[in-house]
Structure formats: C-alpha cells, structure tokens
Amino acid sequence: MVCKHCKEKPVITLPNSNVSLCKKHFMLYFQKKVFKTIRQYNLIDEGDHVGVAVSGGKDSLTLLYLMSVFLEKRRKIKLTAILIDEGIDNYRDKTIIDAKKWCRELGVPLKIYSYKNEIGEKLDDILKRTKERSCSICGVFRRYLLNKAAKELKIDKLATGHNLDDEVQSIVMNQLKNNMKTSARLGPITGVKYDKRFVKRIKPLYFLTEKEVMTYAYLNGLTSKFNACPHSDDGFRTYVREWINSFEARFPGSKHAILNSFLEVLPLLKKGFDVGEIKECKECGEPCSQKVCQSCQIIKRIK
C-alpha cells in the first residue's frame, strides 16, 4: 500500500476509510482538519485571547503546536498556555518539563497554577488521607482552576486537547449512566448557554482520533516515553474505552458513527437542557448550579 497522493511509504491508514497517507500528506490532512473545525464551528474570533490548557502530554502539545501555526497568519489573536500542576510526583513533574520546553520553543507564555498554591495542598498529600476517588477530585479541581486561571488572565476561549476518542467515550458513558444533561454540555464548544463567568471551552482536535493525534505528535517529536499517572482510577472510563476500541476493531467506523449521530441531536439536547439560572458559589464566588460549588464541597470534605 502507498500514499494516496504521492505513492510514498505510508505512515497511517486512516481509521474511517481505507486511505493511506505518507508523512507529508498526513501532516497536511491533520492540520487541515483542525483548522476546518476551528472555522466550521467558529471556535476562535479575530482578536481573541486564546488559552491552551497544556499538560505536557501528546494531545495538549499537539494542540499548542497547531494553535501557534494557526496564529502565524492571524496576528490579532493572542495565545497563552495554562498548566495545572496537581502535585503528582514522578508524573506531572516530568510532563511539566516537556510543556515548558515546547512553550519556550514556540514562544508561547506559560502560566502555571498549582494545587499547592490554589488549594493549599498537593494531590499526592490530599490522597494520603482521603478515600475519595482521585480522578473525581482531580477532574473537579482542574476544571475549577482552569476557569479561574482563564478569567484572571482575561482569556476569551480556552482550548483543550480533547480528541474524538475522548468525546465518544464521554457520550457513551453519559448514555450508560442516563446522564444526558452532562452530554448536552459536550461538543466542539462546551457549555449549554453563554455566561461570562464560564470561559468558553473549545476542542480543535474534536474530529481526530487518538491514533491520529499520537501519529502526528510522534512525527513532530511532541511525545515522551509512556508515562502513566500513578493515581489513575477511572475504572468506568477505562472499561468503556476498551469496549469501544474492541467494537471499532470489529466494526470499523463505529467511533465516527457515534460522534456524528451525537452531533445531529446535540442542538436538541442543548435546547432541552437549558441549565436555568447560574448561581455563584457562596464560598468562592465561582459560577455553579448549587449554593456551594463542587470544588468547595470537596475542599470541605477533605479538610
């Protein structure tokens, strides 16, 4: 098999078709797909200050790299990288090195918000004296700090490295848990309705599979050796991911079918699940749906 466009040696056979592409044409295909998503869903406006949530992993570094390419011809858009340092020894301290290196290389300012400074304690220490699930604590604190950081830095849109696989897993997980209200917040732009207290989240890698992102990252030197979070305990997501992957292996195109059928009903979901009035947390002032936000509830529980 050779590249569809030039007969060179292929680096990938695209997951949703039988098309093979060489390094050069795969890179072009990938970049085009990201830029098309940005245009088609109006993810970024002229004059926006875009924040890129970076962890130092392949998805966020690929996103950062492509966003800086996107901005080369759009000088009115400003870019800032935000990294949340949970305080995980032997994991985050390693990925921070990659994040710093790439931000320096691409000339993107990097702002680091740590649990230690913002919550008062490292995740490693919190987990020593609580039975709460680490991924739940982490998910809530990370979302809270990203929004807080984005507001402090006057960011208009916050880009995250979520790819097609992440989104498909979330769709299926919400379906299996009868949690359509959460699904209504998904999509290339997150949220149900605009509220200036919530910085809009955008997902430029939305239509690219994890395998495509890894291939692109590897070809551009954006990856490091496999490094797993020592606290990872999201068993449900792992199970759903394995199930979807085995289904895809047997019936190729399933992931794209799940995503595309979801996108057809998403406008109806967003309409049907209007969140109503967004309140302010009486402890920290951040927007939330209850009297006290989830982040402050966890802080209280783990104290």
Partner: protein, 69 residues
C-alpha cells in the same frame, strides 16, 4: 525469521518468530495487540503501517496511543 519488538507501555523487549515476508500486522496478531490502539515505529524511528513488510532481525517499537493520564 526473528523480530525484536520493544513494547513501550511495558518497557520490555520480546522476540517474535514469524514466517518470511511477514508484516507488522502479523506481529500484532501474534502478540494479540489491537492495531487501532498503537502506532509502530521501525529502528530508524519511521512510523509504519500494519502492511509494512519486515525483514529478518528487524526491530520495531510498539507505542500505545492512549495517554497515561
């Protein structure tokens, strides 16, 4: 023929015995690995597909696409 395989996720090396002119697909089958969740690089660090034809004593690297976070 013999192929040396480096499994990055497990940080270990394995040897796989295959027939002449086997492809990367055969290595993955042999190790029971789904090609959809890995990428493969040869010893020159070039990314190759499952159709890549292997030579005796060739070395390949199997890299998981899933992040560890």
């Amino acid at each position: 023929m013999k192929i040396k395989v480096y499994l990055e996720e497990k940080d270990k090396e394995e040897f796989v015995e295959l027939e002449e002119n086997s492809r990367v697909r055969d290595v993955l089958n042999n190790l029971n690995i789904d090609p959809g969740i890995v990428i493969i690089a040869n010893k020159h660090n070039e990314v190759v597909t499952v159709d890549y034809v292997l030579k005796d004593n060739e070395e390949i690297k199997i890299i998981p696409v899933i992040s560890g976070g």
